[in-house]
């Protein structure tokens, strides 16, 4: 069966989605979703371990040879992304069980898990496929379900956020389709590897340039690259807790992956970074994103929104690593994909626990919770430290490589700025930590008790991962390093 792992990776969540909707019992529906995500997780581990052996996995769907049929192509880069998505899925699904029952009307729950699995399936599908148009199809699966999931937030602003996300997301998707179409017209193929072979001959063409521009802008809309991030803060703020945690940790990461795939594999480093000098464009964007969004995060009253802005800033860090177009830079970027998923996942889950008990995640609602919910708050603090980049957490590892990458390029002001901006993270995280431990409890917080185990265990699982991969980053750095070399076209 291991030859079919790539298919299992996608098909199991897909079929699980259908089954979730079919069964009328919410707990059974959850069970199916959980089984689906566990299967996907083990499939992702299996694929990653095969890729790490130096194999590039190809899987022809329908048995048709590549440029004619659709194929999966898995190397270190997407194997890592698959693991991130499936891993977060397997952690957040157990969390969803109680959290969703609290935040959602019971009749919706089977449908919710249907959408949940569809979102997982869509994100995995984008990451695994080797076909440009197929990316679009799965992008739509994940996006449509994400819109619905976000709209499930209990605040009425969730609806507006979901609608705005839908508009921005659809524009992004349409841009991507236009880009793919232009490439297709120029080359006659949709297969990514095939495109990569045929494009170098066309590097001077204006059409290719425009295709590049549209793909970049379209994908950037999806990954919320500053200044195309406007949909993100509210979407994350008002979505149900589990949805925020899942999407924040996965959706933008997959979009970044798509960007990396097009920049480095399809168009090639020579085109993107030498001919178009993309680094010159990405670098200032990333820096402005990091700086302004960290600044905005400092002034947010709603902690979820604060973290959402911080997410936009963190995407800036990833793009910064990409802009160096060097092995270290890309290692930093891919590492941060993984690490940021861990820390933001953990932080949003901790907030989910607060939401469960207190019903609000405004900073004033968190006051004095340090005594009432010690484990949850300890998790939040630990996640926050990781976000700041304190050593022995994953955040530090990312930062280390990022600064190293900047210094390698001789850009020491950039390196300095990376470090200076992480002190801004100190400010916005510490505001919350201070409220948690020194604030006078609000009436609602006064009666709050520690979150139930089914919420705490997933949260702490991610915190432990934050610490573990911070103390022993050998595995993650070697995978990220391999991914970076793969992207730059060297031997894996």
């Amino acid at each position: 069966m291991s030859a079919h792992l790539p298919a299992i990776q996608i098909v199991v969540p897909l079929l699980a989605a259908a089954l979730c909707v079919l069964v009328p019992w919410k707990r059974v529906s959850w069970g199916i979703a959980f089984a689906g995500s566990v299967t996907a997780f083990f499939a992702a581990i299996g694929l990653l371990s095969r890729v790490l052996d130096g194999e590039e996995i190809r899987y022809a769907l329908g048995g048709w040879a590549a440029p004619w049929g659709i194929e999966y192509r898995i190397d270190a880069v997407n194997a890592l992304v698959l693991l991130i998505v499936a891993g977060i899925g397997v952690v957040v699904t157990p969390f969803a069980l109680k959290s969703v029952e609290r935040e959602l009307d019971g009749r919706r729950i089977p449908l919710f898990y249907g959408a949940w699995m569809l979102c997982l399936c869509g994100l995995l599908g984008i990451a695994i496929t080797g076909d440009a148009f197929n990316i679009f199809v799965f992008l739509e699966i994940s996006s449509l379900s994400a819109y619905a999931l976000i709209a499930m937030g209990s605040d009425r602003r969730a609806l507006v956020s979901a609608f705005r996300y839908l508009i921005m997301g659809s524009v992004g998707a349409s841009f991507i389709v236009i880009g793919i179409g232009l490439l297709y017209v120029e080359t006659g193929t949709l297969n990514l590897a095939d495109l990569a072979e045929r494009l170098p001959a066309l590097h001077g063409e204006r059409t290719v340039l425009v295709a590049f521009a549209f793909l970049t802008v379209g994908t950037s809309l999806k990954l919320a690259l500053f200044p195309l991030h406007l949909w993100l803060p509210n979407a994350y703020t008002f979505a149900p807790s589990a949805v925020t945690a899942f999407l924040a940790a996965t959706a933008t990461k997959v979009a970044v992956y798509v960007l990396l795939r097009f920049f480095f594999t399809v168009f090639g480093t020579a085109y993107s970074f030498e001919q178009l000098r993309l680094g010159v464009w990405l670098l200032p964007l990333a820096l402005v994103a990091i700086f302004t969004m960290s600044l905005v995060a400092i002034f947010q009253g709603n902690v979820k929104r604060m973290l959402a802005y911080s997410s936009v800033a963190q995407i800036g860090y990833i793009i910064l690593g990409v802009s160096f177009a060097s092995v270290t830079g890309l290692t930093a970027a891919t590492l941060h994909l993984f690490n940021h998923a861990l820390m933001k996942g953990a932080l949003f889950l901790a907030l989910g626990c607060v939401m469960y008990r207190v019903g609000s995640v405004h900073i004033d609602a968190l006051r004095g919770l340090g005594r009432r919910m010690p484990w949850t708050m300890a998790a939040f603090t630990a996640g926050g430290l990781s976000l700041i980049g304190v050593p022995l957490t994953v955040g530090f590892v990312s930062k280390w490589f990022l600064v190293l990458g900047a210094l390698e390029q001789g850009m020491w002001p950039v390196a300095a700025l990376v470090l200076v901006t992480s002190t801004m993270a100190v400010v916005y995280i510490w505001r919350v930590v201070e409220a948690i431990y020194f604030g006078e409890p609000s009436p609602r917080a006064e009666s709050a008790t520690e979150a139930p185990l089914s919420l705490l265990v997933p949260t702490w699982a991610l915190i432990v991962a934050n610490l573990y991969f911070g103390i022993d980053a050998t595995l993650t750095t070697s995978v990220a390093g391999q991914a970076a070399r793969t992207l730059l076209g060297g031997a894996p």
Binding site: F133, L159, I167
Partner: protein, 134 residues
């Protein structure tokens, strides 16, 4: 043919941009959704027109059921692949539209309006309430 070759694309681009404009400039959510629909339909027109071969015919092979390949060699068929892709795109478009319209309906039910600026006012009011309550 040479001029027409590009002119065709230009008109399609114009169509796309009209849809795009309706999408980003109008405050009425229904209008936005319809603008999105026009935009997407125009992208479909663009794809399909790239598959056309002048003087060609629809990619349904002519001839008896068994010797299709041989018979097909003499007839000029338009490219089937864009058609397939666009079948998908049409369906994706309607799916997106259904989602968008459902959201519009729900927004209307909770906000009592589908005009962007009026909704924004209420959203800001909500933010103020949240700030004051906490």
């Amino acid at each position: 043919m040479e001029v027409l070759g590009l002119f065709n694309y230009w008109v399609v681009i114009f169509l796309m941009m009209v849809g795009f404009y309706a999408l980003i400039s109008r405050g009425n959510l229904v209008k936005k959704v319809i603008g999105l629909n026009i935009f997407q339909t125009s992208v479909i027109i663009f794809y399909v027109s790239t598959g056309k071969i002048a003087g060609g015919t629809a990619p349904i092979l002519i001839g008896d059921d068994h010797g299709v390949a041989e018979a097909g060699a003499e007839v000029l068929y338009s490219n089937p692949l864009p058609h397939v892709l666009m079948l998908t795109a049409i369906v994706v478009g309607v799916a997106t539209m259904a989602m968008a319209l459902a959201l519009v309906v729900r927004i209307r039910e909770t906000y009592g309006t589908v005009e962007d600026d009026e909704i924004q006012e209420q959203v800001l009011a909500d933010e103020a309430v949240e700030g004051a309550r906490a």
